[in-house]
């Protein structure tokens, strides 16, 4: 067993700045290393009226951890502070755990700001533990989190190493352990500051003075006592929200936080081996008034997983809607999740329509998605043949989404037709025009020169009985057309032969 301990030192602060960390830096830089949100203005996190976390700018200005909020404000006039939000941190930690699911099946939460991954099972896939740790760090960096990643033989040791950033377990200061301040102070009075010193003490005397609990913890640390970890069960739904500190007015600016959410969705989907067919975006304005909320569904013809494919269609949809003019929070929900089947790429570049015709269906559907997103859902359709005698009912618009069903209907039709052929010779196909008018256009018979006909079509007596005599005729403008005369001796054009 090998354990990977992750510690997010600035999680309390990062949960407030998720929406903007991508706006200032480009993603490539964020991927390069765990830089975290680099914001120029000084910001602090406050708990019980005391500063518990401050960013680099606040540190430079001279604010120290532990000072009161009033002191901090007197040092920096334009200081922004946030009350610490443990609930939000816990929620974010859980989300991070789910997004790291691709690296290990065994992830446990170590509150308040740590994660433990079982790495032994993933070593064959990722090569060695250093490569795995590097990938984990890169992923967390791209999600906007500073992380420290260490590995050890026991989960507790890995977590303590990550928390203290020490190289050896002996160097870990006692303040990083799960001890109360009173105990730490008592050890300090005894001249014991590091874990190495504590481990060298006889266990029995430690147990007598500090209780069996501490000795158990030390045994779990060294691996002599089992330390079962509770596994994180990934949620069945994806619903992430992003709350912005300042309202966003333009759609272009909105794309950055949306991209951040899509990256999170991508990692979540990869971890669960799923693809999403429907995304639902929620945009809410400052007041949170229900009327100023916008729900924007974006659907796809086939399950998608990559953020690029999500973003392209989402952008097209976004252009068409009216957003609330000051968006303060963005939500992303993934619906209609399907098992993901990755398909292989071509080894060589193949020209579209080359011999073999092995054109992949996914790209055909991508085009439909894009056209629908821009032109509207009803703008694209296909056509199909129906078994109807009446000419205008013999065809129908076929939806493109459930192509499989229409294909089946078509093959059924074929089969029955071929069965009929075996029994009796089929009649020659009747002449039908390539262009059909809907509805038929009234015309004067003088404009037509009849060429062929009539063909009587009588159908639908149970509705409004239609009796028509169809002729192939030549219109005076030169087109060959399909005309009919109804029971009341009225002439109509029903199509062009073209």
């Amino acid at each position: 067993m090998l354990w990977l301990g992750l510690h997010f030192p600035a999680l309390a602060q990062e949960v407030f700045h998720l929406g903007e960390s991508l706006r200032d830096e480009d993603p490539a830089e964020a991927l390069a290393g765990p830089t975290g949100p680099r914001v120029a203005e000084p910001r602090v996190i406050v708990e019980d009226n005391r500063v518990v976390l401050c960013n680099a700018a606040a540190l430079n200005a001279g604010i120290v951890q532990g000072c009161t909020l009033a002191t901090a404000h007197s040092i920096v006039s334009g200081l922004r502070h946030h009350q610490r939000d443990p609930e939000r941190e816990a929620g974010r930690l859980r989300q991070l755990g789910e997004m790291l699911y691709r690296f290990s099946a065994h992830i446990s939460l170590a509150s308040p700001s740590g994660l433990i991954l079982e790495a032994g099972g993933s070593l064959r896939l990722f090569g060695d533990v250093a490569a795995l740790a590097q990938q984990v760090e890169a992923l967390c960096g791209s999600l906007g989190h500073e992380v420290c990643c260490r590995w050890a033989k026991t989960p507790l040791a890995a977590l303590l190493l990550a928390r203290s950033r020490a190289a050896q377990i002996e160097e870990v200061p006692l303040s990083c352990m799960n001890l109360n301040t009173d105990q730490v102070e008592r050890f300090a009075n005894m001249g014991i500051y590091s874990l190495g010193q504590l481990l060298s003490l006889p266990r029995q005397s430690v147990a007598r003075r500090f209780g069996q609990h501490l000795v158990d913890e030390l045994q779990r640390l060294s691996g002599t006592l089992p330390d079962p970890q509770s596994c994180l069960q990934p949620a069945h739904q994806f619903h992430h929200d992003l709350h912005l500190l300042e309202p966003i007015h333009s759609k272009e600016a909105l794309l950055f936080p949306m991209q951040r959410l899509l990256i999170e969705l991508h990692h979540w989907l990869v971890g669960r081996q799923l693809g999403a067919e429907l995304l639902v975006w929620h945009f809410a304005a400052a007041g949170g008034h229900p009327e100023r909320r916008l729900r924007l569904p974006v659907s796809f013809a086939r399950p998608q997983q990559h953020q690029e494919s999500f973003l392209g269609i989402t952008r097209l949809r976004l252009e068409q809607v009216e957003l609330p003019d000051d968006v303060m929070s963005i939500g992303l929900e993934a619906r209609r999740l399907q098992p993901w089947s990755a398909d292989s790429q071509l080894l060589f570049q193949q020209l579209p329509g080359e011999a073999g015709g092995a054109w992949r269906a996914r790209e055909l559907e991508d085009l439909v998605d894009e056209l629908r997103a821009r032109l509207g859902r009803s703008a694209c359709c296909s056509i199909e043949v129906l078994d109807q005698h009446c000419p205008e009912n013999a065809w129908a618009r076929a939806p493109l989404s459930n192509r499989r069903r229409t294909n089946r209907r078509r093959t059924n039709r074929r089969r029955s037709a071929s069965g009929a052929v075996q029994q009796a010779p089929a009649a020659p196909p009747p002449t039908r025009p390539l262009w059909l008018f809907e509805p038929p256009r009234a015309t004067a018979p003088e404009k037509l020169t009849l060429l062929r006909g009539p063909e009587r079509i009588q159908a639908g007596w149970w509705q409004a009985g239609q009796c028509r005599d169809y002729y192939v005729a030549r219109h005076e403008d030169g087109a060959e057309c399909w005309a009919f005369v109804d029971a009341h001796d009225r002439w109509y054009l029903h199509g062009y032969f073209s």
Partner: protein
């Protein structure tokens, strides 16, 4: 250095057979003024008469072609039907119809052996959307053929250039259907055909523009099976007879109306006598 010498000596030996010259003439690098250029990738149009005049003996597989016609229905679809059949059967790509003026009738297309499940109808609301959809469909490489009916007033020369580049990139044949007046305006299309209705079942074609060749006019194409004049005459006589009957009925009806109400019985008996 050796190869030219040997060829010269071969020529000098005056033992060149006509077969050799023919072979030389078919070399792709050789072009004669009276000959069409060899287009790299074409598909037969299905009409031998037309293939003779098209560069590369067929429709280009990628590029922009324009069809100039006064009225819809002169035979533009039947002209393209063999190509569409070939493309829908051999490739799994879409045949996109952008802003068609009427409904492409599925039973008729299927009767021509076109795989209609490959047909993608797109109905944009504005000209800009139509242009975007056409360019997107052509460029994507997922359409083997795109047919478009655009707003002539808003179509500019630079649009045709964009469409042509998109079609080449996506390996798509983009067909634009424009009114005949558009022949006077410039276009970047590599092939422009003017279509006028001819005899029933045929169409008269003028090639206004083609790669590596002069314009040709007066090509007559038979686009549907020839009907025997006798058959037509028969049908027409049937029709006339029917019409005569109808007129007779009408006259009788009018006479009935003209007759006074109390005299209805008399007139009805009278009519029975006459017939």
């Amino acid at each position: 250095m050796k190869t030219p010498e040997t060829t010269i000596s071969e020529i000098g030996s005056s033992e060149i057979s006509t077969a050799k010259i023919k072979k030389l003439l078919h070399h792709p690098d050789l072009w004669r003024a009276g000959q069409l250029t060899q287009a790299p990738d074409t598909l037969s149009s299905g009409f031998a008469v037309l293939d003779e005049h098209l560069p590369g003996c067929g429709w280009p597989r990628a590029g922009l072609a324009e069809f100039l016609l006064n009225t819809t229905g002169v035979g533009e679809l039947r002209l393209l039907a063999p190509l569409m059949r070939e493309l829908t059967r051999s490739e799994h790509r879409w045949v996109a119809w952008i802003n068609p003026p009427f409904i492409p009738y599925a039973p008729a297309l299927e009767a021509l052996d076109i795989d209609i499940s490959r047909i993608l109808l797109i109905h944009p609301k504005t000209h800009q959307e139509a242009l975007w959809a056409l360019e997107r469909a052509s460029r994507s490489g997922t359409c083997s053929m795109t047919l478009a009916w655009l707003d002539e007033q808003q179509l500019h020369l630079k649009d045709t250039r964009r469409l042509q580049l998109a079609a080449r990139q996506g390996h798509t044949l983009t067909c634009l259907f424009r009114p005949s007046e558009a022949a006077a305006t410039n276009s970047m299309a590599e092939l422009r055909l003017q279509m006028t209705p001819g005899e029933p079942g045929s169409v008269a074609l003028d090639i206004c523009k083609r790669r590596g060749g002069w314009p040709v006019s007066g090509i007559r194409l038979q686009i549907s099976e020839q009907r025997r004049p006798q058959e037509i005459r028969e049908q027409l006589s049937l029709w006339r007879e029917k019409k005569r009957e109808q007129r007779r009925d009408q006259r009788r009806h009018q006479r009935q109306l003209q007759a006074e109400v109390p005299l209805t019985e008399v007139s009805s008996t009278g009519s029975r006598v006459t017939h």
